[in-house]
């Protein structure tokens, strides 16, 4: 099925959400919606939107038909905790906009401004079925661990159009645990107290903006842009991605979130499985790298590749990611999810953890994350199990547009591939 279909597709690619009707027929659908898995169904796309997804969907006359026999359709994958769009060559700083070491701006750093839709990483990642990313600021610790927050994350799309921001400022990013301790001078107790003091400052600022602007009120250690950026956090409107691994650090953060009425998302959580019931009870979602089983630090001694499966079994809402901040390896997302399945996570839960779960948690599930009528055509047709290295994407739609299955590494391959 692979070769003939690809040829046909190549002729019909459109770079705009065109006014056409497309039907992907006879494929297995993993809808991530109420319809669940449909053994043999059709996804009908009109003018870039899904109008129907399921069995027994009639294909209108004149529709462009994509034969999905033997294939699987999933929503486009979402790479959480990524730097896609904000980095080109990791070790070439002018090509990377993922971090700041300016002491004058930490929480205020807005990664959604200054992204690069021409990044060659975007088509590479699309070939792995990734259509969106939660692009997340990193800390730049070249001058020491100075900044409390690394900035605000954004949901972006990989369509390579100028308007690549799906939703800006979706979360604040905060490292606690070992890293947070280092930022506070070397002790966890200092980091937590300092964080509470910062939040109190922000609340005070929010109540007394006018006095602050007059130069009155109490002195604030944070810059105005940082205070302003943290107001939605203390008001519970913006979640905080908290990077933390040790079980006891997780419990501390659950406690702090309750005390301060913060919405938090745990990120990393290598020992999350040890306190899974507490995380589930708090209704806090977790971003996990499913293959991270190394006791890399004293905060990750309990790391295991069964973390994802155990958290899921405890009822925690899961998001899977790979290689935090290493955007070049984003294409490993589906393999990471596959490994989670090998270690006990149900297959459908693994797909949910890279589609509908991140879409919901980052506030874009009205547009993407499932195959449902009304959503953007943001989906991938695979020639087999999407989590298998042995499978490849055959059609990728982002924001209603069918994307070419090309990328710079394939151009290099073709240039050097001997003629046969």
């Amino acid at each position: 099925m692979i070769r003939p279909m690809l040829g046909a597709l190549a002729l019909m690619l459109s770079s705009q959400a065109s006014a056409e009707t497309v039907a992907i027929v006879d494929a297995r659908l993993m809808t991530m919606a109420a319809a669940g898995e449909v053994e043999r169904g059709t996804v009908l796309i009109r003018d870039g939107r899904i109008v129907a997804a399921g069995a027994g969907v009639a294909v209108p006359t004149g529709a462009r038909v994509i034969d999905g026999r033997g294939g699987v359709v999933t929503p486009g994958f979402i790479q959480a905790d990524s730097t896609l769009g904000a980095v080109e060559v990791s070790q070439v700083p002018p090509s990377a906009d993922r971090a700041t070491h300016s002491a004058g701006i930490s929480a205020g750093f807005d990664i959604s401004r200054g992204l690069n839709p021409d990044s060659i990483l975007l088509p590479v990642s699309r070939l792995a079925g990734i259509t969106h990313a939660v692009t997340t600021p990193l800390y730049d610790d070249r001058r020491g661990r100075e900044l409390q927050f690394s900035g605000q994350a954004a949901v972006i799309d990989l369509a390579q159009q100028p308007d690549m921001v799906t939703r800006p400022r979706v979360a604040m990013v905060l490292e606690m645990g070992e890293g947070g301790a280092a930022r506070a001078g070397g002790a966890r107790g200092a980091a937590i107290v300092q964080l509470k003091a910062t939040l109190a400052d922000v609340r005070h600022f929010a109540r007394n903006r006018a006095a602050y602007d007059r130069g009155g009120g109490r002195p604030q250690p944070l810059a105005r842009i940082d205070l302003e950026a943290l107001v939605p956090v203390v008001e519970g409107r913006m979640p905080v991605i908290v990077k933390v691994d040790r079980a006891s650090d997780i419990v501390e953060m659950l406690t702090l979130a309750r005390e301060e009425k913060l919405k938090i998302i745990l990120d990393g959580a290598a020992e999350g499985w040890r306190v899974a019931p507490q995380i589930a009870a708090a209704g806090v979602p977790v971003i996990v790298d499913p293959i991270a089983n190394l006791p890399r630090s004293f905060s990750e001694l309990g790391a295991t590749e069964e973390n994802a499966a155990r958290l899921n079994a405890a009822g925690v809402t899961l998001i899977l990611k790979t290689g935090s901040g290493v955007a070049h390896r984003a294409r490993e997302l589906r393999y990471g999810a596959g490994n989670a399945v090998a270690w006990g996570l149900p297959h459908a839960a693994a797909i949910a953890a890279i589609t509908i779960n991140p879409a919901r948690i980052f506030g874009v599930s009205n547009r993407i994350g499932s195959l449902e009528s009304g959503k953007e055509a943001d989906l991938v047709l695979w020639n087999g199990d999407p989590l298998e290295p042995l499978s490849r994407p055959e059609a990728v739609f982002v924001k209603g547009m069918q994307m070419p299955l090309t990328a710079r590494p394939l151009d290099l391959r073709d240039r050097y591939m001997p003629a046969r």
């Binding site: 079980a247 399945v341 590494p409 394939l410 391959r413």
Partner: protein, 465 residues
């Protein structure tokens, strides 16, 4: 130490073998230009019952795929492999039906033990980044056998690995080739009789590390000048020793120099050059440097651009140890492609998928599967039987141990992995791993999951692997 002698030793009974090994060790430690190996392997596989894995699909590492077959292992060695083998009496029978068998996985590029977990400055012993030439250091003197990653790699089917110093220096030091067995000392992991490797590095790392300190090398031309200067010194050192030896060893021998001893070992063909080098143009320069001084490069490592000069590398018989997925972190790796290893393979070269990483070493089989799939998608024809060689027979060749490991052929070490499924599937896990015929990993039995001393009594270990 000659590898022929080692083969004889390992083929003999255990006690005799031990005695011979000691004798060989003594001989090797005697004065000569290579300096010998004073840190002799003390690895002795335990006795084990003869073993028959029956009914599995077998990738032999020779290129063959046997749909349903049997592997017999006896006295630490592969005894026989075939589709219709009778299981002799007294053999422990392992049901392989529905499963897959491969040779033990071999990682030609690892920093396990020299950059252990947890990663603390106390443990970071991989880069002697004080001088661009530290050919005098030996990775085995940094290896911490309690690195918990050895066990995790065993769970990924890895039975042998080459531990290299880092790439900060033009000459990083000697490699350590290890069997991935639980041990308390590095000597007890050393692959008996494996030749040493010399880690060299091209490109950005040395020039960044030393240029950043305002000293040479600061540029790629500085790198090359650094190599050539060192080889000139090594050739001179070798000549002085040969002169003394040819003169009937009369008078005092030249003073030993640890750094030059290693380089001279390369010039004599006893130590294998393992060259971190990303760009095609730089690899071509390194080939010329090797020709200028009369040595051979055994393998280019990382080598993201190897596919651009695949015929040259095949002609020079230089292995390429690379990844499918790693690219773009720096300028010299920007042109990395998934099909790199397959394109080397298709040109008739020696393709290797390596890890350089504590996570990837646990799933080299999947990384090879990614490269294989990408190649077949591009219209190449790479069968499983060929792709498995990238993580078995070919790394064995790069490490100079292909006569003992890397394939399931009679007489080879009994390093065998039983996989739950097609090893290139993301769902395949290593169910059992035998090293020299000894069950060294059993996913279902904690008695065969030998944890390191470090994790003992640590939090979370009651369920963590």
């Amino acid at each position: 130490m000659g590898s022929a002698a080692e083969r004889t030793v390992l083929g003999a009974g255990r006690l005799v073998g031990a005695a011979l090994l000691l004798a060989v060790g003594c001989v090797a430690a005697a004065q000569d230009v290579g300096g010998g190996d004073p840190f002799t392997s003390t690895y002795r596989p335990a006795p084990h019952p003869p073993l028959a894995i029956v009914g599995a699909s077998i990738l032999t590492g020779t290129g063959a795929e046997i749909a349903t077959g049997t592997v017999l292992v006896r006295d630490g060695k592969v005894e026989a492999v075939g589709a219709d083998l009778a299981v002799p009496d007294g053999y422990q029978r392992i049901d392989g039906r529905g499963k897959w068998v491969t040779p033990g996985i071999i990682d030609a590029h690892s920093h396990l033990g020299v950059y252990p977990s947890p990663g603390t400055p106390s443990h970071e012993d991989g880069n002697e980044a004080v001088s661009p030439n530290t050919a005098e250091v030996w990775a085995e003197h940094s290896v911490w056998p309690q690195d918990p990653k050895f066990r995790l790699a065993r769970g990924g089917g890895v039975t042998s690995l080459m531990v290299l110093p880092g790439s900060a220096n033009l000459f990083g030091g000697r490699s350590a080739t290890l069997k991935n067995v639980p041990a308390v000392t590095a000597q007890a992991m050393k692959f008996p009789g494996a030749p040493y490797g010399l880690k060299m590095a091209c490109g950005e790392n040395p020039k960044r590390v030393y240029g950043g300190k305002g000293r040479a090398p600061m540029t790629r031309m500085g790198n090359v000048a650094g190599y050539r200067k060192a080889w000139i010194d090594a050739a001179d050192y070798l000549r002085r020793w040969e002169k003394w030896e040819k003169g009937g060893k009369a008078g005092d021998p030249p003073k030993r120099d640890l750094q030059l001893e290693t380089l001279a070992g390369v010039l004599k063909g006893e130590i294998l050059v393992q060259n971190h080098c990303y760009r095609a143009d730089e690899m071509a320069v390194m080939i010329d440097v090797a020709r200028e001084f009369g040595f051979r490069i055994r393998a280019f490592h990382h080598a993201n651009e190897a596919y651009k000069i695949a015929p040259l590398l095949a002609k020079e018989d230089i292995c390429v140890a690379t990844w499918a997925n790693s690219w773009g972190a720096k300028m010299e790796s920007l042109d990395g492609i998934e099909e790199n290893a397959p394109m080397i393979d298709a040109a008739g070269g020696c393709a290797i998928i390596h890890s350089d990483d504590g996570l990837l070493i646990q799933r080299l089989n999947q990384e090879a599967g990614i490269a294989m799939t990408a190649a077949n998608h591009a219209g190449m024809t790479i069968a499983r039987g060929q792709a498995i060689r990238w993580i078995t027979a070919n790394p064995a060749k790069a490490m100079g141990v292909a006569d003992r490991v890397g394939t399931l052929e009679p007489g080879k070490m009994g390093d065998v992995v039983l996989w739950s499924a097609d090893p290139f599937s993301v769902y395949a896990v290593a169910e059992k791993v035998w090293i020299d015929g000894v069950l060294s990993w059993d996913r279902a039995d904690p008695r065969y999951q030998g944890s390191s001393d470090f994790v003992l009594g640590q939090p979370g270990q009651e369920f963590a692997r």
